[in-house]
């Protein structure tokens, strides 16, 4: 979706504000928000693509008016409700009122190190030969799906060069919507600054994205 999250090239947000000696967290609730988000995800009822789509589906006023842990919190509430673990009545009452979906698993403290160290690899074997090869010129498709995608708007319709051909990876566009992993090959595609941003662009700039095969067409 062309949502608020697709920020490449947008303007009007002001300067970057690096913090000296930035703390790990700026409030205790941020620690709990991180933990709740990871524990809820560890139940195994949704994947990272569905999580990302829940975040980018927040109203743009909310997305831009919220810190990132607030975005995470609002999104995990959405996911918990969608999958039957939480109700609006429970949130309003601040109490557990319903039985809800039984979880596939619950993350225990003792398992945290192993679970974090394992992560969630999303490479998958793909039998087909790559459609594109290193050095080939390709165009990022001018696509505007209403669902989740990972092709940012600023490269769509622009021409770049394949720099690396990777193996297969889970396709976010279907995986986010319960339509399967449909692994496709991934490519690193490099775009010249002026191709992306026009005549005034920094001529020394190149930008790469990692694009699934169906995001690309021969140039």
């Amino acid at each position: 979706m062309n949502g608020p999250h697709d920020l490449g090239g947008q303007m009007g947000f002001g300067p970057v504000a690096p913090e000296t000696d930035e703390p790990f967290f700026h409030a205790d609730w941020e620690k709990r928000a991180l933990g709740v988000t990871l524990c809820a995800g560890a139940m195994g009822h949704w994947n990272i693509d569905e999580s990302r789509h829940a975040r980018e589906s927040l109203h743009p006023a909310v997305y831009y008016g919220s810190s990132y842990y607030e975005i995470w919190t609002r999104a995990v509430e959405t996911l918990l409700k969608r999958h039957g673990f939480l109700s609006d009545a429970e949130l309003a009452a601040e109490a557990a009122l319903e039985t809800g979906t039984p979880p596939r698993r619950v993350l225990k403290a003792a398992d945290v190190p192993a679970v974090l160290a394992r992560g969630g690899p999303c490479d998958r074997p793909v039998a087909a030969e790559p459609r594109f090869s290193v050095g080939q010129r390709v165009r990022a498709r001018n696509m505007h799906p209403t669902g989740h995608t990972r092709l940012p708007r600023y490269v769509r319709g622009r021409t770049g060069v394949i720099e690396a051909v990777h193996g297969g990876f889970v396709l976010p566009d279907t995986n986010a919507h319960g339509q399967g992993e449909n692994p496709e090959r991934l490519y690193t595609v490099v775009f010249a600054g002026p191709e992306l941003w026009g005549d005034g662009a920094d001529p020394t700039l190149t930008v790469s994205v990692d694009a699934w095969e169906s995001y690309l067409e021969p140039a």
């Binding site: 697709d6 090239g9 970057v16 913090e19 930035e22 700026h26 190190p113 974090l116 930008v207």
Partner: protein, 209 residues
């Protein structure tokens, strides 16, 4: 950012009045009562990223790459394996790629679409990395962004921006500072800042370390 935008945002840093505090507390309470979340697991997650998984991991990788050409070569070919060799694996580091700064090219990592970041080697991302100003401008005006970090590149230096749009996670290997020829890996690691591994900084010069 206008004064009104500040009006709008400042409450996020005012913990006394922050409605998020009550909201997250309620959420954790409900989920705990329902047996979906174990508060001790949350504690363990927080402790992991406060004390175990952070930029010192990445600094060890960089220092080893500086000190050991064979390791640097392995890191270039298969960063996931080379980094796992040092014990750094897992969440948001499953598929790693190391990108090496050279006298000609400076690398900068961003995630324009969300907050993708190599947790296994750098820990949790800083607020600015996840925020719209950085995410929007890194791909269109990287030199302007770098200047806000106090880093002014030579106009001839090429800027290569890596937008983390998939599950590959990028670790920038900054250039080794001159005058460190005889240094141990451990001492070298002390020159490697977090920002130098994102590309918003360079390694600390020995005289400043």
């Amino acid at each position: 950012m206008s004064g009104h935008a500040h009006d709008h945002h400042d409450h996020h840093h005012d913990n006394h009045l922050d409605p998020m505090d009550a909201r997250v507390r309620a959420l954790e309470t409900i989920l705990t009562r329902k047996g979906l979340v174990d508060p001790a697991a949350i504690d363990a997650i927080v402790e992991t990223y406060e004390t175990k998984v952070g930029p010192r991991n990445g600094a060890a990788v960089v220092a080893k790459a500086w000190a050991d050409p064979a390791y640097a070569d392995w890191l270039k070919r298969d960063a996931t394996a080379a980094i796992a060799e040092l014990g750094f694996t897992g969440r948001q580091g499953e598929h790693m790629q190391a990108v090496f700064n050279t006298p000609d090219t400076h690398n900068l990592v961003v995630c324009t679409l969300c907050s993708c970041y190599p947790w296994s080697v750098l820990g949790l991302p800083p607020v600015w990395y996840k925020s719209p100003p950085y995410r929007s401008r890194a791909v269109i005006d990287p030199r302007g962004v770098l200047a806000e970090f106090g880093l002014v590149l030579d106009p001839q230096t090429k800027v290569r921006v890596w937008d983390s749009t998939a599950e590959l996670r990028y670790l920038v290997i900054p250039m080794r500072p001159a005058g460190t020829e005889s240094w141990s890996e451990e001492r070298l690691a002390g020159l490697v800042t977090r920002d130098s591994m994102i590309g918003t900084g360079v390694a600390t010069a020995p005289e400043a370390a």
